[in-house]
Each structure stands twice: as C-alpha cells, then as structure tokens.
Symmetry: C2
Subunit: 232 residues, 2 copies
Amino acid sequence: MDGTGWRPVKRTRAFEDVLAQIERRIAEDGLTAGDRLPAERHLAEQLGVSRSSVREAMRVLETLGVVSSQVGRGPDAGAVLTSRPDSPLTDLLRLHLGLASLEMREVIDARHMIEQWAAAHAATAGADTSGLAAALAGMDAATSAEEFVEHDIAFHRAIADASGNRLIAAMMRSLRDSMRRYSVEAVQRLGDTSVLRADHVRILEAIGRGDRDEAVRAVSDHLAHAYPSLFR
Amino acid sequence: MDGTGWRPVKRTRAFEDVLAQIERRIAEDGLTAGDRLPAERHLAEQLGVSRSSVREAMRVLETLGVVSSQVGRGPDAGAVLTSRPDSPLTDLLRLHLGLASLEMREVIDARHMIEQWAAAHAATAGADTSGLAAALAGMDAATSAEEFVEHDIAFHRAIADASGNRLIAAMMRSLRDSMRRYSVEAVQRLGDTSVLRADHVRILEAIGRGDRDEAVRAVSDHLAHAYPSLFR
DNA sequence: GACCACTGTATGGTCAGACCATATCTAACA
DNA sequence: TGTTAGATATGGTCTGACCATACAGTGGTC
C-alpha cells in the first residue's frame, strides 16, 4: 500500500477520453447521421487535449464508420456523422482472415447461416425479384470469372437487402466482399457455371412464389455446389 | 481541362498508405497473432512519413482488434498483433445503435438467427453442458437484474462458443454485449424470471441429449418470452 | 553466488506549433 | 450583374520536444 489512494491497472489515454465525450454528446444531444461535429481545433480546446489526440479519436470513429471527414470550408466540411456499418465490418473480416485468426470455413458457415435467413425472410416478405433477375442476366453475360463474381455478389446482396434487416444485410455484404478473391478462385476452379446458374434460378423462383422452405433448401444446395470441399 | 495530366478525385492520406503497407507485410511475411510490429519511430522512418501518421494507422488497427500497444521496453512492449474481433464488433454495434442507424429490432432478429444456429450446432456436436449448468446456477443465485443478466450472457455465450465457429461466436458476444443495458431493463420489466429459467433448462437439456430441432425451438420460444413486444 | 538498488534506454503517450492543400465565403472590381 | 482575387476555416502533415513506463544492464551488498 502506498497510502496515496489506489490506481487501477489501466490509465485511459487522451483519445479515449475524447471518444467517450463524443459518444456522450451523440447520446445526449441525439445526434444522427448528417449532423456535424465541431472542428478538430475546437474540440481540442474544449476538451483540453492536443489536436493529435482529437485526430486519433477521429480515426477511430472513421474506422467504425461513424464519421466522415471532409477538408475545406462550408456546411459540408469537417467531421460529419455518417452511418456505414459495412466498410468497418469488411475491413475487420479481411484483416482477420489475413491474420489467419479466422478460417475460411468459419466465414462460409456464417455466410450459410445468413443466406438461409435472408432467403427465408425475402420469400416470406414477398420481395420484388426484378433485381435478382437483373443480376442473373449479368452473370449470363459475364466473360470472366471476376465479372461473374461481381454479378453473383449483386444477386446475393439483393436477397440480403430484401430481407429488411440492415444489420444482417451489412453482415452479408461484408462477408461477401471479404471473400471476393476466394470466390473468383472457386469459380475458376469450377469451370462450368451452369450448375450455379440453375441454383440461382431455383432460388429466384422460390422467393418469387414465396416458398420459404424451398428457398432455404435452394440456398443450402447452392453453397454446397459453390464450395464442395467445405461440405461433408 | 488543365493540360497537366489528370488527377482522380481521392488522394490517399498518409496513414492509409501506412495501413496498406502494414497489411501487405502481414500477408507477405505471414505474420500472425503474437508477432511484433516495428516501433512507431522506426516505421515512420522506413515508410517516410511522420510519427503522427503512423500513430493514426495504429489507432485504426487497434480499433479493428488487430494490434495492441504496450508501453515500456522488452519483448512484450510495442505494437503486437492480436486477434480480437469481439471488441471492434461490440463498439461498432453500440455506436450505431446510439446513432439510431440500427434499430433494436434488427439486433434482436440477428441474435435470434445466431442463437438458433449456435444451439443447433452445439446440439449436433454433442457439446459439454457443464458451463451451461454453471451459468444456470449463477442465474438462480442472482440477487439483482444486473447480476442475472451477467449469468444469462454467460449462458448464451457458452452455447455460441460450443458451436465451434469463432466468427459466429464473436458476433454473438458482440450482439449480447451491445444490448446489455436493454436486457437488464427487459428483465426488470418482466419481474418474474421463472419463465426464463424454464426456457434455459429446456435449452440445456435439448443440447445435452443432442436434440437439434428441440434446441432450435427452445431458443426461439425463449427469445419470444424475453422480448415479447418484438414478436408478433 | 544470490539478491537488490540504481541507472540507462527503448517504447508508447502527449503536446505545441508550424506549414500545406482544399473548399468556401466575401468583397472588390469590371 | 457577373467575375475574379483575396481572406478564412477546414483537415492533412510534419517536426521536435518532453513525459511515463517497463525492461536491461550494472554494480554493490550480503
């Protein structure tokens, strides 16, 4: 004991204080996407820290998809609150895949779970399937694996968006984006995409007529065809 | 036209270069959790940028749960690669809930999806249920809603961990952490927790005897009891 | 030899101040 | 009225300094 009072292990860093203050203000003032934060120099003065610390906090918020910074002057300049949960999720997954702290198997399992959920909800909600049809046409017209995958992504993305849950849709987009390269390789390895095409048609039709169970089965079969090595 | 050649809209910022370089090195050198990054000053010199820019990149990586920084000297000091997808996910969800860019309904739907998946896989895998039983005992002994929720979180977390998918388990933990406050209110509003207890016992037993379908149903019923206002 | 206190040093954390690039605003001017 | 030139506020970057921390070494003491 030192008799001077006690200090817990962790000192909070200056930028963490800034983060907490900003988060508090967001909650208290009810700030939402589109609202502006004070300029870095003003925040630094108000909070009694250096501009560097404010900037580090800004980087964190930007990384989390909560603010976006523009230079210059005027109503659109400075740090503006945004709402982009996708790109942080994508970065997160990509980096952790790179670090080998996640295996592709786990990512594909997660995708399986989300795709089934989204297809079921899209079918139940009687979603508009014109976007799906357009993506399908894009796949038919594709002349390279990369191009095919782009439209494939658009197809599955449309299902997720149609599910009506923005969080789950964001997860879906991030998963798909972070495994884009792997998908291209999978398509190249497969060579023939006619099986995938048939799967897509089956999914589209099941959703179109609101057949939930068939939509779920179709998605499941589709993933098994696309990544045969990962399914027993 | 200015005749001097053309410049695309977006200039990359210095810290973004640093990020790209570090990510490249992680991929090329096959760095994984536990490996150290060069010191900030060295990185700054190697990459030809200021230390501030390196620090901003570090904040980003730290936010994404990829590095962790320690001061001091020795083998454990400096920036060390880590693997914590949980805390970034939690921060992400908490901030976006605060920003009202996500609704609680969406978060609970996502939780529903993940809980069902995890319960099904835990049941199929014949998971050890001793952790679940311990959490159940903790809930029985709890004397406040906060305490109850802590053990409740532990219970559901154990199911997610038993599913064998680290990504999905991380999603589960993050979802649950970000809605901790809401859970406490829900328990207080409910008053009597005997219904929840019965649900937990039912889930535990279904997983214990490997009854996948019953586990899924039990989880679904449980969430309906816990958040009655969000289920039709 | 074993232990302990002191000093050195590499690390991240923080700050102050300067300058640049950019985008808008303002006022003078034609 | 339209245009242009300057003023200004913003983020982006750099430099250099100093602090706090925690280990590495060094030397002394027992």
